[in-house]
Structure formats: structure tokens, C-alpha cells
Point group: C2
Chain length 310, copies 2
Amino acid sequence: LGIGDDAAVLDWGRAGDCVVTVDLLTDGVDFELERVDPRRVGRKAIAVNLSDLAAMASQPVAAVVALALPRGCEPGRLPGEATSNSGPGCLPGEARAGSGLQLAEAIYEGMLPVAEEFGFPIAGGDTNTWEGKLVICITAIGRTSRRGPLCRSGARPGMRILVTGQFGGSILGHHFDFQPRVREALLLHERYDVAAAVDVSDGLSADLDKLATESGCGALLDLQRIPIAPAAAELARLRGDGVSPLEHALADGEDFELILAAGPDEASRILADAPLDIPITDIGQFVSEPGIWCYDEGERVAMKPRGFEH
Amino acid sequence: LGIGDDAAVLDWGRAGDCVVTVDLLTDGVDFELERVDPRRVGRKAIAVNLSDLAAMASQPVAAVVALALPRGCEPGRLPGEATSNSGPGCLPGEARAGSGLQLAEAIYEGMLPVAEEFGFPIAGGDTNTWEGKLVICITAIGRTSRRGPLCRSGARPGMRILVTGQFGGSILGHHFDFQPRVREALLLHERYDVAAAVDVSDGLSADLDKLATESGCGALLDLQRIPIAPAAAELARLRGDGVSPLEHALADGEDFELILAAGPDEASRILADAPLDIPITDIGQFVSEPGIWCYDEGERVAMKPRGFEH
């Protein structure tokens, strides 16, 4: 497929395409080991990959896990246990996370229930120790259905913009505890003519912009319809910096919901059927002019897509 | 296949099994960015994965690359260019390696010729920056031939131990410049009855021990026949610590040659045909007693497998 999608698709003959996605998470950027149970870190690391497979409407088949574990902190305790003296030169976070082996075990404890829930094995890995902070790199392998992969490039002007779930404020916890939309994507792709999809990792407007760009079109948002998560309002209240809940919903990263494109009739059918356990919302339409647009007092204005830049 | 082999094998129906291997390399353990051209680091990172695919007799199909790039060093220069002032707080090695983008480009410059040589694409990736040192995590996907994967578990007592190439002293440069034995493994697996294989990453005796253990047997080495690399002798001379070239050949890691198991007649046929451009050497036989053995003044004695412990 070339670059631009959530995962690579490898032609594997008649047995369904092989879809490959990789995500690397680092302590200090994607999580702070000093502040979070490493089991939640492990859960997030695998769930992020599943979200990429979901965006491609692929069934997870296996994952391989590579770890770079911080060295030399002992005896260490897992979070929730009594704290102990840490080894020389250990940062508090490393000590709290325990020795390398304990840390690896805790990470796997977080990953395995997700793998079990979605029915695939952790098929192998590469475990290393080093002087640096924790790095987790997971590669997930998926398989497309007979309908092939969902891609970012299939949206066309006039199609509706559908989203699953709600947006904003994921930093308050949802970015660890989100549910990757694998089953939802597979069901929608199987039963309906979904034309394109992307998962929201960098932010609703930023990822919508990517999908629209890959499709050679733009997107016109109906801002009144954006489903705003309660956490977005909570974050706006906590921060008190004038950034509105709607702005959080548009710009915050790591919601890990899906943005989908479907023709108007098909979108109406999906909304009428409501086939998922979670809400699906129509938030606007794809348009021929590139960029992200919205109505402001009845006038169409360009929005600057904002989100987390890697 | 469960754990114990060089890569995971995923059943992909009739289109050939999907073989997945991951290796994570870190600055300070697998290379020292301060001392080496990042192109060589990139080359090594991909070649290490290909060596794993070779051990499984699999054709490379694609690779995905995840990077954690050190942040905040600018303007930077690539090695070979005039040195410049580095940004505040930059280590010399980071400055030398240039900014994150330049570093990523140099790493890809090292990887792409290898991918081209072996005929597969870099199908995707995940590029991150962080406060830590460089981490490269590559996952390679391969496809088995109609003969299926080569595994570590197929050796039986009485089979011969064959090796490609020479061993020892790779730290002097070979660990960057080695040629992964993909073509050699595919040719041998296609033309001959090879029963088991492993690539030598941790050291000849350590990886032979792994293969023998997975096969439920031991290995008896003919120490006179071990092919010792000139670099092993050079390293022994440079170090002057009494460690012999033979000991380097047995214990040094990262030769990335193949150890193969074949029945005595088949081994003779391989040696007589000499089908590769590189030497193949018979260095002993598999035996029923677990462990690694050798003859010392006519008596069979146990050897302690030594090598790099991850």
C-alpha cells in the first residue's frame, strides 16, 4: 500500500493479506514509569497496535514484543507493594518498577489478558537490558478478511464522516484503559460499505486530516455534533486555561476511536442500525477542497488540524 | 512453534508460513553511536533480523522499523563532515550523529541497500524522539518455502554438526559488516535434507547448546576443526590476556554464521558438493548426552557453553 496507512499490508496469496504494524513506546513520552503501574503500560503497548489493526479492519493473528529494560535496580518492588531500598544509582521510578525481570513480568501481565481477549498469541520477542529507560516495541500481525483491508485513501467528497465513541481528555486515564475497536471495525467492514478508516492516535482533527489527505479530499465538520468525552470537560475544568472541552475533543491525542467514511445512504443505514455496543456519530462530510473546515456563524472557515506531533 | 526458535512461525494457509522475528538494538549495548557511523548501525539492525530469518530458511518479505531517536541535538553533522558546535547538553556522540532527522536518514541509508539486495521493502515504521539514547527495533517478516521452516529441534544423535564461515573476533568489525546467510540457508534447505539450524548471535558454543537442547540431545565438538576467523587471532593478540583464538571462536558473539544439523551421508554430500561461495565445515556430531562435549587428550570432557548473555 505504500506509506500513509496505519499498517503495512503484505500480499499473502489467497490466505488473506498479512497486515503488519509496529509501535514503539518510551518512558517519559508515552508513559511515566514512575507514576504508573507497568501492567497498564504493557496493556497500552499492545492495545495501541490493536487499534492500528482495527483501522485496517484486520483480525489480530500474533504479536512480537521487544523490550529494553533499565538495568541494575534491585531488589525492587512492584507498585502496590511496600517500597524497598533501591540499588545504587537507581531512579525512584526504576526502583518502584522493580528489577528488570519483575518489570518485564509486570508488562507481560498487562499484555496477556488483551492478547487472550482478542484471541492471539504473543509469538516471540527480544528482551534486552541497558542503561537507559524502559522502551517497549510491539509488532502486531493481522489478517484481512475477504473484503480486504480498510485504507485511509477511500473517502470521497459527499461521503459522511462517522466516528465511534467520544473524544478528548484521554490523558486523564483513557489513554491507558481504552478498548481497541477491533471487533467494531471488523463488524462494520463485514456488514456495511465502509470506504475508509483511521484510528485516532494523534487527535480527531489531525487524524481526520490524514485520512482526508490520503483520500485527496477535505473534511467539513459539524462542530455541534462532535461527541465530547466527559474527560474533556474535566480536563478543561482542571486546567482552567481557557481551552474548551470541544477544543480538547478535536486536538487531544490517544482517544483510539475510529474515524470512518461511508456514502450518505450507507451512513444513514449504519446510524439507523446502531450495530455496535458503543455510539456511532455523524460529525460531518468529506468535501472536495483539501483541509479541515467547519461552519462559524454560518460561514465555512478553515480549521488548523491540531494534535500530537511525533 | 512455541518459544525456542529464532523466529515465530504463523500458519498462513497454503501460501507458505509467515515467519516473524524482532530484534531491538540499543546504543551502548549493541553499538556505540559515539564511535560508529549510524549507517553501519542501520545495516546491522536489519542484517541481524535477516540472520534470524536465514536460520529458519525463510525468504524475507518485508521489515518494519521503529526508532527512538535522541532529542535536541542540533545542528549536527554526519560522520565524515566537519564537526560543528553541538546543542546544549548534547553528548559528543549525539552531536556527531546529527539531529534526529539526520540520524534517522543515516540509519535508513544503511538499511535500504540491504533490503534492496535481499529484495524486500521496508514496509512501515514508527519514528519517535525522546530524551534517551538511540533505540532501533526492527521486525522482519519472512515466508517459508514449500519445505517449511528449519527449526532448532530437528537434530538427532549421530547427525553431523556443520557450520558456515569462520568464528571469533567479530567485535573488531565483522559484527557490523557480516553477510546474513539467507541465500545459503535457502539453497541448503532446498537441495539437501538439513534437519535443524540456528544462527550464531550469542557465540558458537552457546548457540550450539541451544540447538542441541531444543533437539533433546548434546553435541561433541572436534576442536581441531573449528574454523577460526583471522579476527579471532587478531583479537587474542591485541588483548594479550591469554584467551586463545580458539576460545574466541567458541565464545565470541555475533558471528551470524549458521550451525546446521544433517545426517552423516547428507553431510558428506554437502561437503563434497560445496554448493556455497563460502566454506562449510564439519565440526563434530550430535550425541545423546545433553551438553557440549569435546575430546581433551583422547578423553571426552564437558565444555561450558560460553557466549554473550542478553
